[in-house]
Amino acid sequence: MTGYPTTWRRPPQIVTDRRWRIVLTVAIIAYLLIGMGSVEVNWARMMEGGERGLRFVYGFLQPDFTSRWKDISNGLIESLTMTLTSTVVGVAISIPIGIGAARNLAPPWVYYICRSIIAVSRSLQEIIIAIFLVAMFGFGPFAGFLTLSFATIGFISKLLAEDIEDIDEAQAEAIRATGASWLQLVHYAIQPQVMPRLIGLSLYRLDINFRESAVIGIVGAGGIGATLNTAIDRYEYDSAGAILLVIIAIVMVAEYSSSYLRKFLQ
């Protein structure tokens, strides 16, 4: 048998008309060029910036842990306290909200309330909440603790709710068929299925919270971020370098230990 084609090309999946494809490609390239043209670049300032950047890098290369060690250790302890308490409180509040935001467990009105709590928590960036809470409760770690707890609720509840919606329904049906109550259903059929992931997410959130605590400290919410901000304001790049190195070290330790723990829990 002959006469079959010997070449084959994958047919275009999105825009099937060749002319439209050309028009779209040209339009995108033109938009990109015009867009890049509109960015104003001050080359003189950039040259100067390079020098400042180098000073920062030198600070990194010669980190000074000693002269501000008291400030650093205080900031660190504050940050770690903030991180741990906000994660514990945030996760504790997230569990009922996450259960309520799971379509297969909650009645529609509870579902919509819980989903809107999650939406509010997720749509506000940590820094914005931190600025707001610092204005309300003053400078210091309490505002930071509230900010991180609030952010944790949006994160954990949403992912927990999605995990609950993805469970194996057959197991839940089997428990329901025994005459179990709603609470027993949650405890016997849902919890065993979502527990490993909930623990994994909480550990992940713990290290996100630590990193965020460094950021929100810059707007006055206490912790190591506040120390870092002070060091940069004083042009003490060597101390700032030391602080950044400490943050990186702690994040790495948290990262490795949490991934190890998660593997162990599976």
Binding site: D168, A170, Q171, E173, A174, I175, R176, A177, T178, G179, A180, S181, L183, Q184, H187, Y188, A189, P192, Q193, M195, P196
Partner: protein, 273 residues
């Protein structure tokens, strides 16, 4: 005794899964429910314990009406109906013992079940049932560590720990090999006979149904089209239930399975002798 009268289920999509199904299952009778996929077998047994809400009709278990009950009363009635599932539906991450004890959830308070402090009678019953299904030494293993046949035995023990008055069995052998399927069916039949327990078994393996069931109900498009002893399940009846097909080929397959099983048993006996 279970009485189902004019049971009808219409899904929201407008599909009529069951149309005026009526049947009576006396004490101790094991009924096989056969029919093509989508005939409403699964819907029928789920309507009985109201995991699926029937649209109309009545269901009574030894005189007690099951339709129209509120949530609390429904949970109390569900305790009297044990259910065994396709693909076992064990809670995989709980231990075998916890799975068996979960059959008692309808009888204990939330706090008792939360702290795993079940009454000693429940624990004794759970061990007795595990011994009955031959899994005594697996009590503390996690359910996902067991093989398919073992998991289905746990499923049976869980249903029995409810001390049910009726067993609903949904495709108990769909994911098991032919030999394990027969062992599980045999165990089910024995247990029903021991306790005089009526059962409705959804099954799509016709030879298996003929081999083990005392009575067969054929369902097609939500209607009962056959109800009688397995001997009356002739080729023309099967054609009414499933549509035209070469039934002799299927029978031969079933025969081949049985021969293979007999050979395997004989070989095992020789090895152990």
């Amino acid at each position: 005794m279970l009485t189902v009268t004019d049971l009808t289920k219409t899904y929201k999509t407008g599909d009529k899964a069951l149309a005026e199904v009526s049947l009576t299952v006396p004490k101790g009778q094991v009924v096989g429910l056969i029919g093509p996929s989508g005939a409403g077998k699964s819907t029928l047994i789920r309507c009985i314990n109201r995991l699926v809400e029937p649209t109309s009709g009545k269901i009574a278990l030894s005189g007690a009406e099951l339709t129209g009950l509120g949530p609390r009363a429904l949970r109390r009635e569900r305790r009297r109906i044990g259910m065994i599932f396709q693909e076992y539906a064990l809670v995989e991450r709980l231990t075998v013992m916890e799975n068996v004890l979960s059959g008692r959830l309808g009888y204990v308070s939330f706090w008792q079940s939360f702290t795993r402090r079940f009454p000693s009678a429940d624990i004794e019953r759970a061990y007795r049932l595990l011994d009955r299904v031959g899994l005594m030494e697996h009590a503390d293993k996690r359910a996902d560590a067991l093989s398919g046949g073992q998991r289905q035995r746990v499923g049976i023990a869980r249903a029995l720990s409810q001390e049910p008055e009726l067993l609903l069995v949904d495709e108990p052998t769909a994911s098991l090999d032919p030999k394990t399927s027969r062992q599980i069916m045999r165990l089910l039949i024995e247990i029903c006979a021991e306790r005089g327990l009526p059962a409705i078994v959804n099954i799509h393996d016709v030879p298996l149904a003929q081999q083990f069931m005392q009575r067969i109900i054929g369902l097609r498009a939500g209607r009962v089209v056959f109800d009688g002893p397995p001997e009356q399940l002739t080729e023309s009846v099967l054609t009414t239930i499933y549509g035209a097909e070469d039934w002799t080929a299927m029978r031969k397959d079933g025969e081949a399975d049985r021969v293979a099983e007999a050979e395997a048993v004989a070989r095992l006996a020789m090895i152990s002798a």
